[in-house]
Amino acid sequence: MAADERESVTLENVACCICGGVDGTPVGVGEDFEYHTTSHSFLAVRCPRCELIYLDPRPTPASLPVIYPDEYHAFAFDEEQFGLVHKVRSRLEARRLLRAGRGLPADAHVLDVGCGDGFHLDLLRQHGPKGWQLHGVDTDARAVAAARGRGLDVEEQPVETSALAPGSIDFALCIQTIEHVGDPVAILRAIGKLLKPGGRLYLITDNTGSPDFKITKGRHWGGYHFPRHWNLFNKASMRKLAEAADLEVAKLSTTTSPVNWTYSVRNTLVDWNAPSWMVNRFSLKAAPALAAFTAFDTAFTVIGRGALLRVILRRPQ
């Protein structure tokens, strides 16, 4: 990336997206260890009332093209590059999704908010009931193009302005999206409007109640993903978020992921100038590390402290 592009990241102060407070206290400070898109450092703060962890200050919307470079993995998690890991992940994710969608009608309308390149919709198309109507929204033109390339019905829109009919959706997905957006309450409200009364939202996001957060929150936690994760939740702040968005919490649990553990270690090594052979042992392509951390995190998931929050919210009847 050119130097002048790096400097084009501008920052703005923000409030807690749940309570509007501006008195967050510092929890961690770090850099873009993964993509090095900017020379800024970022401060993660905790809202003393909501326990929300958020970046303050954070990049302005105008800086988004810089902090999401072309090589960003959300648009490039394809099969050739990630081989075995991709297969394992697909199988696991499909199982989880279908379990969450159990009991839906045969002609259910399903919406993936922040669908990226259509990875999850594609899984549902392959493994789910054939009668399901699949929709997606995403704001990134490159992602939408990729999803449409797979033959999926995707709008290039924020969900707030989606053309879908209010009250038409049975089941919404919001998978590792909420942490990237500036106003999670607005997104959840918008999803709530699109849901049928009693309709469900299946939400996955990084868990700040996890042990890897506790250990590495000062700087290297993988879940910070500096500066792209703007709002990060634990169970308490997730409940507050749901309340602010007028949604009911149907289920609040955690699930296993090796990604944050892997990146927490990797970021530490990168930051402490470890040799590259060591750094490379910890990446999304490093099957041994991913396997080991999956096993490890599974143990924490059993006691409700897994790496990801797994939430089912419901629009009140």
Binding site: L11, V22, T25, H40
Partner: protein
């Protein structure tokens, strides 16, 4: 008067005043900042001289955490090192604080102090230091330093000067290890409000410390008004009702002052609640900056000199910030505790420089032949003195504030506390929301300035 909420009036355009206005803005309250002098920054001023040396007022250190919070970390460089040692003799410079554990007589006396019957009353600094560190370490190192920058004997000082959050021994060792591994000047016990961590280290902004103030000022909705001294603060006995700035009366129900607390008391009209803070004393500093040829002349960035020197601390900032002096040149800062009117304060610049050059020998033997030039700065507000004499009033100020609703005294001089800029920042961030809410609630000013005026002219 108009129906909209009047702005909060902020007195002083140093870092505390600017940060207060910044936080008020984030809380949805307009602020007007008035600075008496011709420019902003106050004690956080910087300049670069014709020979390419840059100075701040003394040596200033800030962290990546503070700079990230202000969104200016991208304009900072990381300090490759930072360290403090204590000068015990020409050969002995144990690292502060852990190296002192390598001095057997200190350890012996500290252990002895622990096994001896514990002392009940530790409210006096001298007792507390001897109890905490042992008599030898206290008497040879801690108390002489304390007395130098306080200007009072340690038995007349309050024990509250001791830091609230001391960094534990194990943590200090761990942080020093991280410093080695990361080649970054990891902060060890510098900030009081927020803890040390391996990821919190010293950085330095391009353009010097003053750039921080400029950055915050640039982000304010309204420019700071310079050359506008506050002259009076009107109260109705309970609450602030207005201020006089440069001869002009302004109604407001909230004032945030960054003035030295003993100066603030003199501006209050309509209440004597702040009179008890009038006795508070600040210790002055005479800061002598020597420009020398060479680099890395001291055993570490900061050398504490409890004995045998007329100054209490010697700093070679370019060891930590190589870019603030030209290549192969350096700056040595000698800090004298002093009081306006005393003999040290009254030295001419030449005398002050000579006093440094003639005494630095044990640290820099050939200092005289290295000397390129010097500058001398006299800072009357060096340290708030925690005298026992007024300790209850100091504690009351810290716990309850000024005692006048709507009048908030903040910053190092306003709070009368040994705090750094970052401490001021976190304290303001915690305090301002309540101040802003209170300001909203009271936006209908109860008593007019005229009312107070009349009361006073008849009194």
């Amino acid at each position: 008067m108009s129906t909209s909420t009047p702005p909060v009036i902020v007195l002083g355009g140093g870092i505390a005043g600017l940060l207060a206005a910044h936080e008020l803005g984030r809380n949805g309250v307009a602020a007007e900042v008035y600075e008496a002098g011709p420019r902003i920054a106050g004690m956080a001023a910087s300049h670069t001289d014709a020979d390419g040396f840059s100075y701040d007022v003394g040596a200033h250190f800030v962290t990546n955490r503070f700079m990230a919070a202000l969104g200016m970390r991208a304009n900072c460089r990381v300090l490759p090192r930072y360290g403090e040692v204590v000068h015990l003799s020409a050969k002995k410079h144990p690292v502060y604080p852990i190296g002192l554990l390598g001095v057997p007589r200190f350890v012996r006396s500290a252990v002895w102090e622990k096994v001896r019957r514990p002392k009940r009353d530790l409210s006096v600094a001298a007792d507390r230091f001897r109890h905490d560190y042992g008599r030898k370490l206290a008497d040879e190192v801690a108390l002489p330093l304390l007395e130098a920058w306080s200007g009072l004997p340690a038995d007349q000082l309050s024990a509250s000067v001791i830091d609230k959050i001391p960094t534990g021994l194990a943590q200090t060792i761990w942080l020093r290890m991280a410093q080695r591994m990361t080649k970054r000047a990891v902060m060890i016990g510098y900030c009081k409000e927020e803890p040390s961590a391996t990821g919190v280290f010293h950085v330095y902004p391009d353009g010097g410390i003053a750039a921080i103030c400029q950055h915050v000022a640039d982000g304010l909705a309204q420019p700071v008004q310079v050359g506008q001294p506050a002259e009076k603060i009107y109260t109705d006995g309970e609450r602030v009702v207005g201020v006089r700035i440069a001869g002009r009366d302004i109604e407001t129900n909230t004032v945030i002052s960054t003035l030295p607390i003993n100066r603030l008391t003199q501006l209050i009209e309509g209440s004597d609640r702040l009179d008890r803070f009038r006795r508070f004393q600040f210790r002055g500093l005479v800061l002598v900056n020597l420009k020398l040829t060479g680099r890395e002349l001291l055993p570490d960035v900061i050398v504490w000199t409890p004995h045998g020197f007329p100054y209490f601390r010697v700093t070679e900032a370019p060891m930590a910030m190589p870019w603030i002096a030209p290549v192969d040149k350096t700056m040595i800062l000698c800090e004298f505790g002093a009081q306006p009117g005393d003999e040290v304060w009254a030295m001419t610049d030449e005398e002050a420089v000579e006093r440094c050059v003639s005494t630095l020998d044990p640290l820099i033997p050939d200092v005289r032949s290295r000397l390129l030039g010097a500058s001398v700065l006299r800072q009357p507000l060096g340290y708030p003195v925690f005298a026992l004499d007024y300790e209850p009033d100091r504690a009351a100020l810290a716990a309850e504030g000024t005692g006048i609703a709507g009048l908030h005294s903040v910053g190092r001089n306003g709070e009368f506390d040994h705090i750094l800029m970052e401490d001021t920042f976190w304290r303001l961030r915690r305090r301002i929301p309540a101040i802003a809410r209170d300001h909203h609630r009271c936006s209908v000013v109860a008593s007019s300035i005229e009312g107070v005026h009349n009361e006073h002219s008849t009194a």
